[in-house]
Amino acid sequence: MLHWPYFFGRYIIMTSPRLSQDEVQHIALIYRLGLSQEEIESLRHQLSDILENFQVLDQVDTTDVPPTGHSVTLENVMRQDETTSPMSKEDTLANAPLREDDYFRVKAVLD
């Protein structure tokens, strides 16, 4: 659903159609975010309204303008490679929802 080519993304911005339920569901799936039917429906409208407001950026000419990721440019912050004591095992596991011995326990990843 979301594997349309780039130009289609542009098209979406310029005409800003409303998001479909399927699209909302697909975005939730790639994030592994569970949503109820009501949430999907209300998000569909709210996200469409918000995206419509982003159209204003189409008015800005950004030819040859580099993107800014961070406002403060710091390059390759280095430090000495020194051994320090890590957080203790108990501290690390203290908040584990499920623990087995010294491991975080999870449900089976593969069936």
Binding site: L2, H3, W4, P5, Y6, F8, G9, R10, I12, I13, V24, I27, A28, I30, Y31, R32, L33, G34, L35, S36, E39, L43, Q46, L47, D49, I50, L51, N53, F54, V56, L57, Q59, V60, T62, V65, P66, P67, T68, G69, H70, S71, V72, L74, V77, R79, M87, D91, T92, A94, N95, A96, P97, L98, F104, V106, K107, A108, V109, D111
Partner: protein
Amino acid sequence: MPSNLYDLTLHEARHLLDGREVSSQELTQAVLDRVQQVEPRIKSYVTITGEMALQQAKEADQAIAQGEVSPLAGVPMQLKDNMCTRGIPTTCSSQMLESFIPPYNATVVEKLLTGSAVVIGKGNMDEFAMGSSTENSAFFPTRNPWDIERVPGGSSGGPAAAVASGECIYSLGSDTGGSIRQPASFCGIVGMKPTYGLVSRYGLVAFASSLDQIGPLTKDVTDCALVLSAISGHDSRDATSIPQEAQDYSKALTGNIRGIKIGVPKEYYGEGIDQNVAHAMRIALEKLEELGASVEETSLPHTRYALAVYYILAPSEASANLARYDGVKYGYSAQDADSMWEAMERTKQHGFGPEVKRRIMLGTYALSAGYYDAYYLKAQRVRTLISREFQEAFQKYDVLITPTSPSVAFKLGAKVEDPVQMYQNDVCTIPVNIAGIPAMSLPAGFVDGLPVGMQIIGKPLAEETILRVAYTYEKATAWHKMRPEL
């Protein structure tokens, strides 16, 4: 000096503590009593650590007796609940972290504790700092001390309301798009977002990492300078920390602004701005001119794109940052699931509230295949243009002055249903985060009995200039001395 100990500023408290006229235990008890008195109406605290605070106060009294010189020693304060405190819950006002007890302290917390500060508790906020009214807290909304039918602003609504109502002497908040300055403005106090990288973000629960910054919320400008001096400085645990040592910002409080050039960007005074607020600002600008500054209108035409840029970039970064809440290592974990994927989906479904879900969805959409260039990359390019525009303005002006918020505090429930309208609240503060520059909000008048905040914006690392202008204005006015009746 105020008649109630809880109404003291940090520097007034410092004077009394150093002169042994009051002990930290007395001061802390007075503030805890105040919390007990007004908290049922204000609701600014998620966690109150009274016993621990009294113990810290006792130790602070000993430290002061032994010559402790930190300006923070023995003074009770509140921390926004997104700064990690070892052994004390750090919830971000979210179900997701309701039972999370950090195994370490944020760098700012370490600095406070090293300086014998007294931590009274953790302040309520919009969930994961996403919001402008503190109504997005998963636990309860916080009320504005000036009118409890109104919001205190957000996301640092708890910290701002606590300072304004005397529930702490000062507090620390975080600001991603205005979350310190807008609530400071709504509650009639001083709030500063420092230059990005000036204060370590280590131990601050991440929302949008390229925009987040910790800063002080205080009763006046002198306190702001004292707290900023105590929390800033390089930290090797934050890779974006600016490599410069902490400095004494109180040296900037000269009270002289002769020759200071103030730019007034007209975009912040027109459409979408309450004209009563704009009028209050014009009066404040006249005062600054009287005090010796020159004031000139200017234009920052890219301002109108800042909101769209922010609501693409911040949710995109948030969607990446919040992916860590998978129910495995810490935080809420849904166990009623058959598979790992289902457990993850349910964990996020029940752990996150509506605004967090909305922003995660928005960010995931903006970063997804086919949309990345059109939204995320486009927003980053416009970010460059917004930053350049500020750089150009600062070749001409020392500071820029705008309203902090387009309106005074609004009523609870007024904007909850309409996210687009709610997002407009940050229109004056967001450009500052996008450019990574420092800005402060300070009290500059009242409209209908509610405080108006003036925003002073400076160039990168020009906190001193901002403090100097703010202090000079504060000395010539009495807004900061007004306290809400509770």
